[in-house]
Amino acid sequence: MGNWFRASVAGTAVTAAAVVAIIFLGGEPAVSQGPAYQAPRLPGTSNPNLTGLWQAFVTANWDIQDHAADAGPFPRLLGVWGARPAGQGVVEGNEIPYRPEALARKEENFRNRLTVDPDNVNTVGDPEAKCFMPGVPRATYMPFPFQIIQSTEKIVIAYQFANANRTIPIGEATNAPVDFWMGWSNGHWDGDTLVVDVTGFNGLAWFDRAGNYHSDALHVVERYTPMSPDHLMYEATIEDPTVFTRPWKISMPLYRRIEENAQFLEFKCVDLAEEYLYGDLVEGSSQGGAR
């Protein structure tokens, strides 16, 4: 009897553990299995109120695909300040379907990620290092929080990094008059999910420090779904026929910053980037370098 009893206990424990694991690990079921969570509404509307200070806790800014830990670009100068943390990718299936010729450009981007060329200020090197606006979706998973302010007809997202921002009118979509770093966003509600359709990119932003990039033909469809009072699920479908052979998808949870004193702060980084950008231009000049 003893044998049977113990085996049964162990089996039950294992089963329970598996059930618990499914509940806690299954990110998608909350989204796909319907309204498990009912977020508080924005007064005057039937929509959940997404207002808050949010942040992604993934390492996608280093590489949206799987990546092991690695030294940064200047370990002799920076120690591990500049190192890359290990991280699992945010790309569904971990594959980015580059066209063959486009993949070469990605690798070139990576090699030149910290190159500054005064004659090609915004076409060579990672825009992040230069304090340029991160574009969409990269703005979402920069290691900085961002503030959503949701009103009845418009939603403003203010990103801490480079103080980038975008305004998302809800309802009838309009076309981008010209191209922008942060694109041109149009929003609508799909049940409790905020869907943002973004086009009008200038093609200069990157996805990450690994050199993953897109062209001005980029089309992003983002979905923000409340999962709990303090969690949103973020999903984005990426389409760019000049660079990729098919659409692909990324997803990650967003976490509310719940510290009592959490608030949006400035990261106006221009003056922090000037020596990097212009230092070579004043090298050797008699008065250069007031720093």
Partner: protein
């Protein structure tokens, strides 16, 4: 026993690729007093795997698979006596020779013996090696690729650098343990000191803190898939499950710097290890392991050793934080080069 339990687990867990040949060796089951509140065998506590038994059977022992009881007692007594002798011996100057790490009598040349903790017992089976398979107690033959790897001129040079016979031109030439990056490897075999492990369990995780390099292995038991093979790590990526009362841990995803302490040379990313932890007595975990690396050995090998319960606490290991040694090695190397250059003038 427990085909029911196995059925449940079979539904939940992936099939382990490696044949668990030790399964038959399980002597008894874990008593109820050694179980967690949720019914798993309780592996928790601090454990030490020091032993006088070596990984490989000394060649001079030939076919001899086991020591006799008298031989085992003799080895243990000899060790105790020698420890006693060394601790009572007056201080003496060590003279520089080709090899400072050990002296002619086998005693350490680098520190007083009392710093060390090699254990004073052989394994309970009195086997002449930790390796149980191949039957000769020796590691399998190297593949031609691995043979080249360990016998190349570059490997020889690196060995000379690590032995202090050549100046180090870079920290990268030094051993991962000199650099405080990675010490034991997996499976974790005993060395001269710090052979301590702290195991903590929850229903769905086991964590093993190794004293050396303060590495913690966090091992999920919930049946999740391994992380993608694109992510390689020093300790690889471990997944555990219970087979009866034995914790089975399978590890893959090692990076190309994989090592196993006690085994010469660098291993490959193809390294694949299965470990088995069974606690049937209050003070003993039976630790068994199977190692496969087709780019290093022509066949798999298996071994076993005991982990004995020990009193805590385990202390902090701050190797990197206090690694004056690396500065000394590099500064010494520069001084040597300078001296050599000056002599040439």
């Amino acid at each position: 026993m427990s085909h029911r339990c196995l059925t449940v687990m079979g539904a939940v867990f992936a099939v382990v690729v490696l044949a668990p040949t030790f399964a038959a060796a399980q002597p008894t089951e874990t008593p109820a007093s050694l179980r967690t509140p949720w019914g798993h065998p309780d592996l928790q506590g601090i454990w030490n795997n020091s032993t006088l038994t070596r990984l490989q059977r000394p060649e001079e022992l030939g076919d001899k698979e086991f020591l006799t009881e008298e031989e085992a007692a003799g080895v243990e007594q000899e060790t105790i006596a020698r420890n006693e002798l060394l601790s009572n011996r007056p201080a003496e100057r060590t003279t520089a020779a080709d090899q400072l790490d050990s002296r002619a009598d086998g005693t350490p040349g680098f520190y007083n013996n009392l710093w060390l903790d090699r254990g004073t017992t052989v394994v309970a089976t009195r086997r002449t090696s930790l390796i149980v398979d191949p039957p000769n107690g020796r590691l399998p033959s190297l593949t031609p690729e691995a043979h080249t790897r360990v016998t190349s001129a570059e490997a020889d040079r690196i060995e000379d650098v690590r032995r202090g016979r050549l100046p180090a031109t870079s920290w990268e030439e030094l051993d991962l343990s000199d650099r405080c990056i990675w010490y034991r490897g997996i499976p974790s075999l005993p060395t001269g000191y710090n052979n301590n492990y702290h195991i903590v369990q929850t229903p769905d995780h086991v964590a093993i803190l190794q004293e050396h390099i303060h590495d913690v292995r966090v091992i999920p038991l919930d049946g999740r898939a391994h992380i993608a093979p694109t992510i390689r790590q020093y300790a690889g990526d471990s997944r555990g499950h219970w087979e009866g009362d034995t914790l089975v841990v399978e590890t893959t995803g090692f990076n190309n710097r994989a090592i196993i302490r006690g085994v010469d040379g660098n291993l490959s990313e193809a390294l694949h290890v299965v470990e088995r932890f069974t606690r049937n007595e209050a003070d003993l975990i039976d630790y068994e392991f199977t190692v496969v690396d087709p780019k290093t050995w022509t066949s798999a090998w298996q071994g076993s050793l005991p982990m004995t319960r020990t009193e805590g606490p385990m202390f902090e290991y701050a190797c990197h934080e206090g690694n004056y040694g690396l500065y000394n090695i590099l500064a010494g190397s520069r001084a040597e080069e300078k001296a050599a250059g000056g002599a040439g003038k």
